[in-house]
C-alpha cells in the first residue's frame, strides 16, 4: 500500500504485512514527521442499527436526502444555532445530541450532509467520520466536522488530516459560513471545502479510493487509483518505528537527542507563534528566537551525553525540519530565504551560552 506523510506529502510504498494491529508509527524520511498508519480495512466495523441496502456511492442519496442535513452537537445551544443557519437556507434539519444517535440517524435518514461536533458524547465526531468514510454504503454522506474555536493557529491540522472529513467549521463560523459550506458540498463549487480538499474534486476517483484507510493521512493517497503505477518515492521507505526496538545504546541515545531537540523547537514555536511566523515569512528565524535557542542548547547539553551531542547539531536539524514543514503549511515558496539564515551560526550561539544554571533564581519559591 502507499502512504503519504501528512506533513510534507512525501509518498512511500509499504508492505501491508509489516503493519501489525492496531497500526504502526512511521517517521517520514524527508521531514522527520511522525505519523500513524493502519492497515486498510476492506469491511468496516458492524454498523450501529439495522443494515440498510447499499446505496450507489456514485449517485449518493441525491433522491433521498440531498436537502436533508443531520446536525449533531452535545450542546443544544450550538445545535440550535446550526439548525437556524441551515433552515434559513431551506434545508431540512435533523438534530442529534450524541454520537451513537447521530450514527443511527445517518443510517436511517440518509442525510446528504452530516455536520458533526468533533467532541460528541458517546462517540466522537471524528470516529463517526472515519466510520462513514470507510463504509461503502455511507461514504457518500458529506461530513463537516465542527471544531471548537481555537486561536492557536499552529495547531490547525493540514486539510487532508481532518479524519477524511469534507470540511471543517469552527463554532464561531456557524452563522456566517455553515450554510455556504453545506451548499458547496452538495452542489459543488470552487470553494467547496475551504479548509479541506473536497473529495468530490476528482469525480469517480475520490470515494472509491477513499475506502479503507483509517488514517487521515491516507486521504491524499486515496486519490490515487491503486492500479496506477506509482512514481518511485523520492525518499526511501522509512522503517516502522518501535519505541522499544533500539538495540544499540548509542542509537537509542541519538534518537533521544533528536526527540529532545524536536521538543525544544516545538516548545519555542508553541510559546512564540507570532515571532516564528514572522521569521518564517521574512527570513532569519534563528536570529529572532536566538535567546530561546540559547536556552535550548543549554538544556540539550545538560541532558544529552556529550559524545552523542557532538555528533551533530541536533537542534539545528530539528529547526530546519520544522521550518521546512511550516513553510509548506503556510504556503511560503521554497525560494524564500525564510527560517534558516545562513549568516546565523547557531553553533556559535550555542558555544557562547553563559554557564549559569537556569533556575537558580527560583530557590525562594
Amino acid at each position: 500500500m502507499i502512504v503519504a506523510c501528512p506533513s510534507c506529502k512525501a509518498k512511500f510504498r509499504i508492505d501491508e504485512g509489516r503493519i501489525k494491529p492496531p497500526g504502526v508509527r512511521l517517521r517520514c524520511a524527508r521531514c522527520q514527521n511522525l505519523f500513524a498508519v493502519r492497515k486498510r480495512v476492506v469491511e468496516s466495523a458492524a454498523p450501529v442499527g439495522p443494515p440498510r441496502e447499499s446505496v450507489d456511492p456514485a449517485q449518493g442519496n441525491a433522491a433521498e436526502g440531498r436537502g436533508r442535513i443531520l446536525v449533531a452537537h452535545g450542546e443544544p445551544v450550538v445545535a440550535a444555532a446550526m439548525r437556524g443557519a441551515l433552515e434559513k437556507a431551506n434545508y431540512e434539519v435533523l438534530i442529534s445530541g450524541d454520537g451513537v444517535d447521530a450514527l443511527m440517524k445517518i443510517q436511517r435518514e440518509r442525510p446528504g450532509v452530516a455536520v458533526i461536533d468533533v467532541a460528541l458524547p458517546k462517540m466522537y465526531g471524528f470516529e463517526i467520520c472515519e466510520f462513514l468514510k470507510r463504509n461503502e454504503s455511507l461514504r457518500y454522506v458529506k461530513v463537516i466536522l465542527v471544531a471548537t474555536e481555537h486561536n492557536q493557529g499552529r495547531y490547525r491540522r493540514t486539510p487532508e488530516n481532518y479524519y477524511g472529513a469534507d470540511d471543517v467549521v469552527e463554532e464561531s463560523e456557524i452563522p456566517g459560513e455553515l450554510a455556504g459550506k453545506v451548499h458547496r458540498l452538495l452542489h459543488g463549487g470552487e470553494d467547496a471545502g475551504a479548509t479541506v480538499e473536497p473529495p468530490g474534486s476528482a469525480p469517480g476517483i475520490d470515494h472509491e479510493a477513499a475506502a479503507g484507510l483509517v488514517e487521515p493521512a491516507a486521504a491524499e493517497i486515496a486519490a490515487q487509483p491503486e492500479e496506477r503505477p506509482f512514481a518511485e518515492p523520492e525518499d526511501p521507505l522509512p522503517e516502522p518505528e518501535r519505541v522499544t526496538a533500539e538495540d544499540d545504546p548509542r542509537k537509542e541515545m541519538r534518537e533521544r537527542a533528536r526527540r529532545l531537540a524536536r521538543i525544544i523547537v516545538s516548545d519555542i514555536a508553541l510559546y512564540n507563534p507570532e515571532i516564528v511566523e514572522q521569521g518564517l515569512r521574512s527570513g532569519g528565524l534563528p536570529a529572532l528566537i536566538r535567546d530561546d535557542l540559547e536556552e535550548g542548547y543549554k538544556l540539550f547539553r545538560s541532558r544529552i551525553d556529550e559524545a552523542v551531542a557532538a555528533e551533530s547539531d541536533f537542534i539545528r536539524e530539528a529547526l530546519d525540519a520544522f521550518v521546512d514543514r511550516k513553510r509548506r503549511d503556510l504556503g511560503i515558496p521554497d525560494d524564500a530565504e525564510a527560517g534558516t539564515d545562513p549568516a546565523d551560526d547557531e553553533h556559535a550561539v550555542a558555544d557562547d551560552i553563559p554557564s549559569a544554571e537556569f533556575g537558580t533564581g527560583h530557590d525562594d519559591f
Binding site: P22, Y124, T148, Y163, D267, L270, F358, G359, F365
Partner: protein, 197 residues
Amino acid sequence: MSFINYSSREINCKIVYYGPGLCGKTTNLQYIYNKTNPEAKGKMISLATETERTLFFDFLPLSLGEIRGFRTRFHLYTVPGQVFYDASRKLILKGVDGVVFVADSQEERLEANMESAENLRANLKEQGYDLDQIPYVIQYNKRDLPSAMPLAELQSLINPTGNVTEFEAVARGGKGVFDTLKTIARLILIELKRGSR
C-alpha cells in the same frame, strides 16, 4: 507529604498538575476555581514572567470532606510545562501528595507528552517518590480538537500498563475536569486513611 494544621483542624494536601507546555493544566485549575464555592477556596495566584510564560504555580486551596474530624484542604498547583523549566518543576513537586498528568491529545504534541511523563517520573524519583506508588491520574485533554489522536494510541504510550485511572477531557468546557480532580482527591484520601505515609 500532607501536613496537619491542628489549630485549624485541617489536613493539607498538595496536588500537582503536570504535563507539557500549553496542554491545559492552568485551564483545568481555572475551571475548578470558577466552579468552586467562593467560601471554600483561597486566592488563585498565577505567576508569569514578562514573556507570559506560567513560571511558577497557580494556587487553589479548596475543602473536600473530612477525616477523623479534620477537614481536608487541597492545594492545587501547576508546573511550567515548557521543557526548559525543569528546576521549577522539581521545586513544585516537593511535598506532593498526588499528581494529575495532563496530556495534550494532539499528535503534534505526542513527543512532548512522552518527554513530560518521563520527566515527571525522573523528578519524582529524585525526591524519593515512585510514580507507580503515589496517587496518580492521567487526563487526555483537548479531545475536542480535530487533531486529537485516537485514545488507544495515546494510552499505549502514556499509560502502557493501563493501571492508571484516566479521563478524557475538554478542559475549556469543563468536560472531565472534576472527574479528574475527584479521582485524584479520592486516591489521596485513601492514602491518608491508610496512614501509610
